[in-house]
């Protein structure tokens, strides 16, 4: 009889103690730091219509076919480099380039840091990359690489207008 009581008491004490330890551990579980809003595995095709953007230019061409052929020859390893777009989708582009052209190899950015990082990446592969001196206004159109730059708050990519890009 005494043995049975001892077993029951032992079980009750053991289960209670285990529950207490589990509860304490759960209470102390580290809170995962915020990683910013989930962005998903796909880069959003953001054109930044209406914003003032920095554009890195890899070349200008009179036709889309020429621009695409040139883009194919530019090595960026396994990364996406330039995008082929009509220059008319950026207000102020033609005036800064000075050459008659309808298509260009570009990558667009909202921050100086983003544009500069892309220039450095291009240089790693020996590719030409020039940041236009003045921001241009995006009129929408084709995707030109916007959103592939770090947000200044360090949480992930910059997915919306910044102070500098707002007109």
């Amino acid at each position: 009889m005494k043995r049975r009581q001892a077993v029951v008491v032992g079980l009750v004490v053991g289960v209670t103690a285990s529950a207490g330890v589990i509860a304490a551990a759960a209470g102390k579980a580290p809170v995962r730091p915020s990683q910013g809003p989930p962005v998903g595995p796909m880069v959003r095709a953001d054109t930044g219509a209406g914003e003032l953007l920095l554009v890195v230019v890899g070349g200008v061409f009179s036709s889309r076919a020429e621009a695409e052929a040139a883009n194919e020859t530019l090595a960026f390893g396994d990364l996406q480099g330039y995008y082929v777009v009509p220059v008319a989708q950026f207000q102020g582009f033609r005036q800064q380039v000075g050459e008659p052209s309808d298509f260009a190899l570009v990558s667009a950015f909202r921050t100086e840091e983003g544009a500069q990082a892309f220039v450095e990446l291009a240089a790693t592969f020996g590719n030409t990359a020039t940041i236009l001196p003045e921001r241009v206004r995006s009129l929408g159109g084709l995707y030109a690489g916007l959103g592939q730059e770090a947000s200044p708050d360090g949480t992930g990519p910059l997915l919306g207008p910044s102070e500098e890009s707002l007109p």
Partner: protein
């Protein structure tokens, strides 16, 4: 007489030069461990599988941790030294060979790099070396593993995307693989090593 003297001088030169030529490379070749390098194998993160696990372990693409640590690596063929960045969880921890960069593990800059030096495989690290880049995969709108700071490309000019065999990186791929890195040769990207699978 003069000829004889020259002959003895030549013999003496040869008798000194040959041992030096044999011994010197051995001394120099093992300098990496002689200087104190050890495979630390400290605090490696577990290797994620798929996008969700990558984000859970390393954060969103282009986050500040993804580019927190930097290292330099010289291409053997051109002599160009590349500086590139990678995730804080994959290196930057102080060792005999690496200064304290605020990193959490010894993986890339001490262990992988050190093994390659120690095994005399540096001649197979050729030009075109990079790590973190906030970019999509080529001809895709998917984030590249480079955007998380968990991918490094080496010898990228010779081991280009679309080449389904390896001529250069195969010499040191096993070192990367032995430290948790997945080799992109499986998807015809032999320049590419990433600390993730199924993505």
């Amino acid at each position: 007489m003069r000829t004889g003297s020259h002959g003895r001088g030549g013999l003496r030169f040869v008798s000194i030069a040959i041992p030096i030529a044999v011994v010197l490379p051995l001394i120099v070749a093992f300098h990496w461990t002689r200087l104190g390098w050890r495979d630390g194998h400290v605090n490696y993160p577990s290797r994620p599988s798929g996008y969700t696990q990558i984000v859970n372990r390393f954060g969103q693409p282009c986050n500040a941790e993804a580019r927190a640590i930097s290292m330099r690596w010289t291409a053997a063929d051109t002599g160009v030294t590349y500086s590139f960045r990678f995730h804080r969880k994959l290196g930057g921890r102080p060792t005999a060979m690496v200064s304290d960069k605020g990193g959490r593990s010894t993986n890339l800059d001490n262990d992988v790099y050190g093994h390659i030096q120690n095994a005399h495989l540096q001649p197979y690290i050729k030009h075109g070396i990079y790590g973190y880049a906030c970019r999509a995969k080529r001809n895709s709108n998917e984030w590249s593993t480079h955007a998380f700071g968990i991918a490094v490309d080496v010898s990228s000019a010779e081991e280009y995307l679309g080449k389904c065999t390896s001529t250069i990186n195969r010499n040191h791929a096993s070192i990367w693989q032995g430290h948790g890195w997945y080799w992109g040769l499986a998807f015809c990207d032999p320049m590419h090593f990433q600390y993730a699978i199924n993505y």
